[in-house]
């Protein structure tokens, strides 16, 4: 079952589309990286998923339960952190959790439990206005976890965190998925961050979903490239083109071949048999960044 499923989800704002006919399918138990440049519509999508905005069209289901303005029961499965943490600075960390606990009506023991999960138990009785940004972020995560959600929706959760804080957050999210089976829907414009943690990806640009699937599926969309250094690039180019390979000169005397049907060893043999002396072959696996750029650039003329 999908944890989140949307069909033709759209949000139109005055002056243009926010998001256009999104068909999201977030598998239960996945860490779903929701990727897109600034202004792509990530936060709009998240606000729609949390019923903070009303869709102009389409449907949303959380674990199969429809979410509408009037039927908000599905939100009981969700814990969320939208952009910056929303906290009461004049209250302590524990009191902040207590406010939400009273609202959602969960057991008192949960406050202590989530404080332990985010490692804030020692600072729980300090006023939140004295917290560092990292501590505020962890407290916001504790708030999201308080009602034992099945899905965590996190909008740019690493914003403002230092590298150590980012690493801690990443470890925590992995732990939550592994130990408690929580689905994580994580939006970010930081490609490297998503690449390190996500099992599934959705790529959004200008309000449209360009890709959705696993990281491997995305990589299959863009095959690895073989960079060739040889004594006679012009001859190598002819040999490879004659063999039906998509080859492009790279400007500095090297050639680049997109590996589709032949392996790098077969390409090497082809060149050697054609009388080309190969100095170096480098396999360049497509990084998420290059895949992302390829996707969003390919989409650009359509907008």
């Amino acid at each position: 079952m999908n944890a989140i499923e949307t069909h033709a989800l759209s949000k139109r704002f005055a002056g243009g589309f926010g998001v256009h006919e999104l068909d999201l399918a977030v598998p239960a138990g996945a860490i779903y990286g929701f990727l897109g440049p600034n202004g792509a519509g990530k936060t709009t999508t998240i606000r729609l998923l949390l019923s903070l905005l009303q869709p102009s069209g389409g449907t949303i289901a959380i674990f199969g339960e429809a979410l509408t303005t009037r039927r908000r029961g599905a939100l009981a499965h969700v814990g969320a952190l939208v952009e910056s943490p929303s906290l009461y600075g004049h209250l302590t960390g524990r009191e902040n959790l207590e406010v939400t606990r009273r609202l959602v009506g969960v057991a008192e023991r949960r406050v202590g439990e989530v404080l332990a999960v985010v490692e804030l138990a020692g600072d729980a009785d300090r006023l939140v206005r004295t917290y560092s940004l990292g501590m505020r972020q962890r407290l916001a995560l504790a708030l999201a976890l308080l009602a034992e959600p099945r899905i965590l929706i996190l909008d740019e959760p690493t914003n403002g965190l230092d590298p150590a804080g980012i690493q801690e957050l990443r470890a925590l999210l992995r732990r939550l998925t592994a130990e408690r089976g929580i689905t994580v829907f994580l939006s970010s414009h930081l490609l490297a961050e998503i690449e390190l943690i996500a099992t599934h990806l959705g790529v959004l640009d200008r309000g449209r979903l360009l890709f959705q699937g696993t990281l491997d599926e995305l990589r299959r969309c863009a095959p690895p490239r073989l960079v060739i250094e040889c004594d006679d690039p012009a001859r190598a180019l002819c040999e490879l083109a004659a063999a039906g390979e998509a080859v492009t000169p790279d400007g500095d005397g090297t050639l680049v071949v997109a590996l589709r049907s032949r392996t790098s060893a077969q390409i090497n043999r082809l060149l050697v048999e054609g009388g080309v002396e190969v100095a170096r072959l480098t396999l360049d696996d497509a990084s998420l960044e290059s895949l992302f750029l390829a996707l969003t650039r390919a989409e650009a003329p359509r907008a």
């Binding site: 704002f13 709009t44 606000r47 949390l50 019923s51 903070l52 905005l53 009303q54 303005t69 908000r72 029961g73 599905a74 939100l75 009981a76 969700v78 969320a80 939208v82 952009e83 910056s84 943490p85 929303s86 906290l87 009461y88 600075g89 004049h90 209250l91 009191e95 207590e98 406010v99 939400t100 009273r102 609202l103 959602v104 009506g105 708030l143 009602a147």
Partner: protein
């Protein structure tokens, strides 16, 4: 329905906790104390005509306190309290956290409304207590005022709670403004403008129809329009509350 009231009870309990260490809570004591202190000074330092009996003297002192309270301090207090209560959620954009919880949106609004009325009522009761203290202070400072013995507590309590009811229409409008607009300045400016306008409107024949001067109607012209003011305030507050809850339930949170 029972789940709705359970959610409301939870939201009210959360509101109580949020008020800890806030200016909103401190103002409940400060505002009536300022009014009573000013009236004690007024009675203590100037020659005033007071009643012939102890009760008349008490009523003269309490009436002066009520007049200052109803005309000026109560509208300003309601303005400030509504802005501070809404500001708790506006300041760090808490609405996006609250409204993403599986709690009906109207519950959040109703909890804020109940908190505002509770603060207003608590202040009114403190005001009665402070009037009694102020009157007793005057028996030592100015024995010639004629104040002495027990104050007319029933009369004080009835007038004070009636004034709260007459102020509900104004409170409902102020809360809507404070929640609708994120800016503290907008809420305070709206309340101050309406209060100042009340100085003029309140003295005209339209005073009884104007929400900010409805509490004054309880004793203006010997309470000629008191019944109307209370009924109109209750009706107005109900209508404004219903409309603002409907508007709040449909509002989009895009910032």
């Amino acid at each position: 329905m029972s789940s709705y009231f359970r959610a409301l009870a939870g939201a009210l309990s959360a509101e109580t906790l949020k008020l800890r260490r806030t200016l909103a809570l401190r103002m409940c004591g400060v505002t009536p104390a300022v009014v009573v202190t000013l009236c004690v000074l007024q009675f203590g330092l100037t020659e005033l005509e007071v009643g012939q009996t102890r009760e008349a003297a008490w009523k003269a002192f309490a009436g002066a306190s009520f007049a200052l309270w109803a005309f000026l301090m109560m509208p300003l207090f309601v303005t400030l309290e509504a802005a501070l209560l809404a500001g708790l959620e506006h300041s760090d954009r808490q609405w996006k956290h609250l409204l993403a919880l599986p709690v009906p949106r109207s519950v959040h609004y109703l909890a804020k409304w109940t908190a505002l009325v509770a603060l207003l009522l608590t202040t009114a009761l403190l005001f009665v207590g402070l009037i009694a203290l102020g009157g007793w202070a005057l028996t030592f400072l100015r024995a010639d005022t004629g104040i002495g013995g027990w104050p007319p507590l029933f009369w004080l309590l009835r007038l004070c709670t009636s004034m709260v009811v007459a102020g509900l229409f104004m409170a409902a409008i102020q809360l809507w403004v404070a929640i609708r607009w994120r800016s503290f300045t907008v809420a305070v400016a709206a309340g101050m403008t309406a209060t100042v306008a009340g100085f003029i409107i309140g003295q005209s024949r339209f005073g009884r129809f104007y929400p900010w001067t409805m509490p004054v109607q309880l004793f203006a012209k010997k309470g000629e329009h008191a019944g109307f003011a209370i009924a109109a305030s209750l009706l107005g507050a109900t209508v404004v509350l219903a409309l603002s809850m409907w508007e709040f339930s449909r509002r989009e949170l895009n910032t």
